[in-house]
């Protein structure tokens, strides 16, 4: 049996760190690239590569590499497949990962380029689709990285960070193109800072990516939009994407729900970056949530609430008085020389009550034979 003291001794002896201690960057990735020959008809091709190729077909293009640093740089350029990052965002596989899709369809003329400070150079490449490529969109990346970063950095204490930039490569294989998007959830969650985070999830059930404009509105009880946020994001084929928008606390409080509207080009003939064809919008509401007021509006609303309660109390009192006058008070005929004070005193009630119940106005002069409503004698 292990004695506690022995355990403690062992722990003391093993007071060594087993945790990663640091995150360190190895190199600054001050190099970049852009499509060398964008298509004038498609502005998206200024920033990403877009091709439509039949199975077995090929095309050539080029990537323009930049050295934005103040030193000579040797830049590695290589093709990889695309992957989904958390939340459905587009990202690129690592150089070490196997190439199974577009990453294997790209053949670059050079894999390393040495550039002087501020210089640029075009690296040609070929895209060749396999004869077995399925209809729909296939994505990959051309990654650009300082050459010293293409190999796994030597082990150091903690995490070593590398940096690279990448350009998306979209290859669409003609065939049955399906564009179908749905919103699967919209949730509103309170935050520590008093604000609210609206998280929307969309599912692209089609076989091509969709540049989707996502608009999220925070809507009040009466349909009034109190805040909105939006952005346009690519949702890759056969995948889900998630966005979270932060909203400030609606200071007046109340009941709200979030409405998410996702709009995309639904024309199968319209390629990525093209604007022909119609658009389709899908919409989904969150559950209604109560938001407590805050700040000065909260004080104002509290004051209004107190006033409402006070008014309600007054109204109840008045209603009861009117009810008594109507149901319990009796008719009384004013005699000669009687005054309001005299009559009220005789009936054990204040002159104000009699005046109010009978809607008398100053100077409260009473005429002989005038009819009044007065409490019964029993109230004396």
């Amino acid at each position: 049996m292990r004695k506690p003291s022995l355990v403690a001794s062992l722990v003391a002896l093993l007071m060594l760190l087993v945790a990663p201690t640091n995150v360190s960057a190895v190199e600054y990735g001050g190099v970049g690239g852009a499509p060398a020959h964008p298509q004038a008809s498609n502005p998206r091709t200024k920033s990403i590569f877009i091709y439509t190729l039949k199975p077995g077909q090929s095309t050539t293009d080029g990537i323009k590499l930049y050295n934005n640093t103040e030193k000579q740089r040797t830049i590695a350029v290589y093709a990889v497949d695309s992957i989904l990052a958390s939340g459905g965002a587009f990202s690129c596989a690592q150089a070490a990962d196997p190439k199974l899709d577009v990453g294997s369809w790209l053949q670059l003329d050079s894999t390393q380029v040495t550039l002087e400070p501020g210089a640029n150079k075009i690296v040609p490449f070929t895209v060749m689709t396999p004869s077995t490529a399925s209809a729909g969109e296939h994505d990959g990346c051309i990654a650009i990285q300082d050459a010293s970063m293409t190999e796994t950095p030597s082990s150091q204490n903690g995490v070593t960070l590398g940096f690279r930039s990448a350009i998306r490569v979209v290859v669409t294989i003609p065939g049955k193109i399906v564009k179908q998007l749905s919103l699967t959830s919209v949730n509103v969650a309170g935050q520590k800072d008093g604000g609210y985070k609206v998280t929307s999830v969309a599912r692209n059930n089609g076989n091509v990516s969709l540049d989707t404009n996502v608009q999220v509105k925070l809507v009040g009880l009466f349909g009034n939009t109190v805040a909105q946020n939006e952005g346009t994001y690519p949702i890759l084929a056969r995948s889900s994407a998630q966005w979270s928008f932060d909203f400030k606390n609606p200071s007046w409080g109340g009941w709200y729900h979030a409405t998410t509207t996702a709009t995309y080009n639904s024309d199968p003939a319209s390629g990525l970056g093209e604007s022909k064809g119609g658009k389709r919008a899908v919409e989904l509401n969150s559950a209604v949530v109560f938001v407590a007021p805050s700040g000065i509006p909260a004080i104002i609303e509290l004051a209004i609430l107190l006033l409402l309660i006070f008014a309600l109390v007054i109204a109840v009192i008045k209603w009861r008085q009117n009810r008594d006058v109507k149901h319990h008070w009796r008719d009384y005929t004013v005699k000669d020389h009687e005054t309001l004070n005299h009559i009220a005193h005789a009936h054990n009630v204040s002159w104000k009550s009699v005046a109010k119940a009978n809607k008398l106005k100053p100077p409260y002069h009473l005429e002989k034979g005038q009819k009044l409503r007065l409490p019964p004698k029993s109230e004396k």
């Binding site: 760190l17 087993v18 995150v23 960070l161 008014a311």
Partner: protein, 415 residues
């Protein structure tokens, strides 16, 4: 006297007067790289100063260019003094005409800009604001030889650039009552105006620009409607390098050679334990830089060696991407970008940006974690500093002591 009225009715009217007004902020449009934001011009028919005023106050870090020129009296050379705080790029003068190009990196307060002249002459000023320009030492080169003539084709002169991504700015003044209809060599006409109440002694002024992406020698010739003694100038200003990248920088924005993000220490234990750290601190910020024309990007982080990567001492290992047992079976690294902060550069905004949600690496399921996303409505010619991203690693029980390391790569993707 009894004057009390119904309290309830008063309250009812008061409550109905409560009006709530909500507003929706407009989404700013993304600007193009090295884009002219605004320009103005002004003239005087005889004075020692001339001033033009921008429609809006110039934004911080934008490049301001002021061109001042005069039609001189043929006897006296008029010297031009630039606006306060501006630097002279090129200033030339003789008895026929004077012209000077001045520039300044905006501090966010400039609106009215004026030049002064040594003699009272008819003169003009044209001022420009550009985004996407270098904020330190923005002047690349100017024409080194004087460009003058008397034809209807006033020329800028030529400039040899040393920086690939430059904005070329050409200007002329001609002693003619005319109009400049165009500039050749892909220059865009930005200003064309005249002054002088007497048509025979009017002067015409013009400015044009062109963005280039390669070093070389550039010039442009304008087309004037009438001939006159003219003077041309051209200057090349450095645009921001076209890049979409990420980096770790210190508090001054200088790239950190060996940045580190401290993680909490832990002793060897017989039970699973979490160690935490922060990616992005005040002195080591993850800087996302986008000076391309595309506002849509994603910054993600993944293990450099892919899903098979391991925390390792070189001899012993544990996982970073095994969610089983809440990460305690073999180890799991969770990253929470939503706990972080995106701080935009001066003059930029967080419009269209979202931080990623907390996620744990899971082999084959979540091999890459989104740190931040820029949408089509995000601004360009900007950088953002990401700080406060929390890291949490579940360290399995009974791990051997040692210093473990893991290689991660941050990828900035144009999409």
């Amino acid at each position: 006297m009894i004057t009390r009225q119904s309290l309830g009715s008063r309250l009812g009217v008061g409550l109905l007067m409560l009006v709530l007004i909500f507003s929706i902020a407009p989404t700013p449009r993304a600007a193009a790289v090295a884009q002219m934001i605004q320009t103005k011009s002004a003239t005087t028919d005889g004075g020692t100063s001339v001033s033009a005023t921008f429609t809006a106050v110039a934004k911080t870090n934008h490049l301001l260019i002021a061109v001042c020129a005069s039609r001189n009296n043929g006897l006296t050379t008029t010297n031009i003094t630039g606006p306060s705080g501006f630097t002279s790029a090129k200033s030339e003068a003789n008895a026929t005409s004077s012209e000077a190009i001045f520039y300044k990196v905006s501090v966010g307060t400039e609106q009215a800009i004026s030049c002064t002249l040594s003699t009272s002459v008819r003169c003009g000023i044209h001022i420009y604001e550009y985004s996407g320009m270098a904020t330190t030492s923005p002047l690349d080169a100017v024409n080194t030889t004087t460009s003058t003539g008397t034809s209807i084709s006033p020329a800028s002169g030529s400039v040899t650039t040393t920086n690939a991504n430059d904005l070329l700015f050409a200007t002329i003044v001609t002693n003619a009552n005319t109009s400049i209809s165009a500039w050749n060599s892909s220059f865009t006409l930005r200003n064309n105006f005249v002054n002088g109440s007497t048509t025979t002694s009017r002067a015409t002024y013009s400015g044009a620009d062109r963005a280039v992406s390669a070093t070389g020698t550039y010039s442009s010739v304008a087309t004037a409607g009438a001939s006159g003694a003219w003077r041309g100038q051209i200057a090349a200003f450095k645009a921001l390098p076209i890049t979409l990248s990420s980096d770790v920088v210190d508090g001054s924005g200088v790239s950190v050679a060996s940045p580190s993000a401290g993680m909490t220490s832990a002793s060897s234990s017989f039970s699973c334990q979490a160690v935490t750290g922060t990616l992005g601190t005040a002195t080591q910020k993850v800087r996302i830089n986008n000076t391309t024309s595309n506002p849509a990007w994603t910054v993600s982080i993944a293990a450099t060696s892919g899903p098979s990567a391991l925390w390792t001492t070189g001899s012993t290992t544990y996982d970073f991407n095994d969610p089983s047992g809440s990460g305690c079976t073999n180890g799991q690294l969770t990253i929470d970008p939503s706990a972080g902060t995106l701080t935009p550069a001066a003059g930029c905004a967080n419009t269209g940006l979202t931080l990623g949600s907390s996620a744990g690496f899971s082999s084959g399921v979540t091999d890459s974690i989104t740190l931040a996303t820029g949408s089509a409505s995000a601004t360009i010619n900007c950088y953002w500093d990401l700080t406060g991203v929390s890291l949490s690693q579940q360290v399995p029980a009974e791990r051997a002591a040692g210093a473990y390391s893991l290689n991660l790569t941050i990828t900035t993707t144009a999409n």
